[in-house]
């Protein structure tokens, strides 16, 4: 196996892993936030660039979601789950 094969395999695995993490974040947001919180601590410990720390910190906080599971069909970015009518 040549070096370009190894590079290709590493990059392909990284892409699959990134997509897996993206879906894990969508399906299990609470667990994902805990993961990002740990990542923030690790990045701080490693004195990583401020931008990376801010990014990880932002992902570790709950944010306003579309509330619908991400269909995006309604293009409605302001319908937070708590904003629905009282039942």
């Amino acid at each position: 196996m040549g070096p370009h094969h190894i590079i290709q395999t590493v990059l392909a695995c990284a892409m699959v892993l990134a997509c897996g993490l993206y879906w894990a974040g969508r399906l299990f947001p609470a667990a994902s936030r805990r993961g990002w919180s740990s990542m923030t601590a690790i990045l701080r410990g490693l004195h990583a660039p401020v931008g990376m720390i801010h990014y990880a910190d932002r992902r570790s906080r709950p944010r306003n979601r579309t509330g619908c599971g991400g269909c995006s069909g309604c293009a409605d970015r302001s319908c937070t789950p708590g904003a629905g009518p009282d039942r």
Binding site: H5, C19, G20, C68, G73, A75, P81, G82, G84
Partner: protein, 611 residues
Amino acid sequence: MTTLNIALVGNPNCGKTALFNLLTGSRQKVANYAGATVERKEGWFTTPGGRRIRLLDLPGAYSLNATSPDEAVTRDVCAGTYRGEAAPDLLVCVADATNLRLHLRFVLEMRAMGRPLVLALNMIDAARRNGMEIDLPRLQAELGMVVIPTIGVRRDGARELLAELDGTPPPVPAPLPEGTDLHALVRQILSDCVTQSSPLSDRIEERLDRWVLHPVWGPVILIVLLFFMFQAVFAWAQPLMDAIDAGMGMLGQKIGTLMPDGVLRSLIVDGVIAGAGSVVTFLPQILILFAWILVLEESGYLPRAAFLLDRLMSFAGLSGRSFIPLLSSFACAVPGIMSTRTIQNPRDRLVTVLIAPLMTCSARLPVYTLLIGAFIPHRNIAHFLNLQGLVLFGLYAVAIASALVVARVLRWRNADRQEATLLMELPAYRVPNPRDLALGLWERARIFLLRVGTTIVSLTVMLWGLSSFPAPPAGAQGPAIDWSFAGRIGHLMLPVFAPLGFNWQICVALIPGLAAREVAVGALATVYSLGSGTDTDQAALQLGQMLPTHWGVPTALSLLAWYVYAPQCVATLAVIRRETASWRVVAIAAGYLFALAYAASFLTYHIARMF
């Protein structure tokens, strides 16, 4: 300077959202029918004088005595009792200047709330065109509040309103005497402040309505309109689809030749380009479908269609009020289910929520058109009817008929059945604004491409991973994909779906379809591309030409029948849970849709095999 909290309130379809979009620069959905907004929307802007404004767009309400969940939101926000929302500093009551008889009553009701209030007399240009002359100073004096003319669809249509917001805050209007007859007061104000010459547009509308709402010609016009809509989806989109298809083919070929052979090349060519590229091809068809829907929405035809379908809906135990949520579900069941909040009767609302997933959402369109294009001959019937368009129309019709039958069954089981009379405001006809149409289509294209770039690409990359690993053992026979995780999962599912004529590749494609139905197309492209053994094979991009060599017609028809009922959409199930606050309803919806899909596919497959 402190931020001013302002809420836009008013009757449905008076142009609140258009004004909201104009002021905040948002692109919230506007439509020419009541009930387009069912939730409070929030936006920010700064006035020319530098004042920061937080603006709320509230659902339309006919009265503060709320009869539906969306009206309750408006009532609660205005009264300051809405959870997590302080009472607005200023209410901007929007009224349609062409329909003051109806809208002024709500303005007077708002006045009784005892909060700072301004009246925005919207669509003032349309009122003037209709021959109405409104004495604004007198109207202001009689209503006891500041009255500002606005035009929500014109760039400078809110100039006077912005100037008012920069000035001193308006006073709280004096309360009306106890026991005032609001209807009588409205009549009095109108006779004092408004003069109306006989408008030509009223006569044209009457003539149009005579045909459009005719008991015989009305339904005929509706069927013809829908029929041409589906014909257009096939007839007009083909050249653009071919161009995108060719572009994707060239891209795949270029990358295939530029990159050295290896795993990453396979991921990009077989995963991303074959998978996501095959879905992007359907963009023109989706846009044509939405162009028709937007024109019907903007023109004011849709509420008339609801009125026409009231009798048909009442056969199913529903009222015409369910029509608009069901129609919204043709775009996506999620906003459709959310817009059931305009339905007052809780039972009607629940039944509408349960049948909304049966409406053919745009995510099914790529699956339909792929299978129809691959298996239904491209020929005309009676010289002008495109057979493929006819089949597409048939699929939509079957879905609608099934929804009505399911609604009938659900209502039949319901002991406390009550007849509901449809009371609906018919808006004025309007020539659709080309800018609004272009913005609407751009928004649809953006959403679709965003979805392809996130949901679909990520799923096809993951599916590529599952289809490529683990590699087959040394000396293994057959395609490598048979040894992969995806191959094994597909074979594991096969005993359940084999009676429907599905092969293991279809079984695999059904799984990512849970996240987005159209991913099934990309998944099939990836699985067959990897299965073909040559990763730069351009056949991967011509999925429609490849499928007939792998499947029979009965399998294709069975898969079409499956997708008419297709229960697998996580977003739909999530919004059902949110809107009904019940897992039981989610289980019922998923269960009955799966049972219907399975039964329909089974019957279709076995009947088709007889021929």
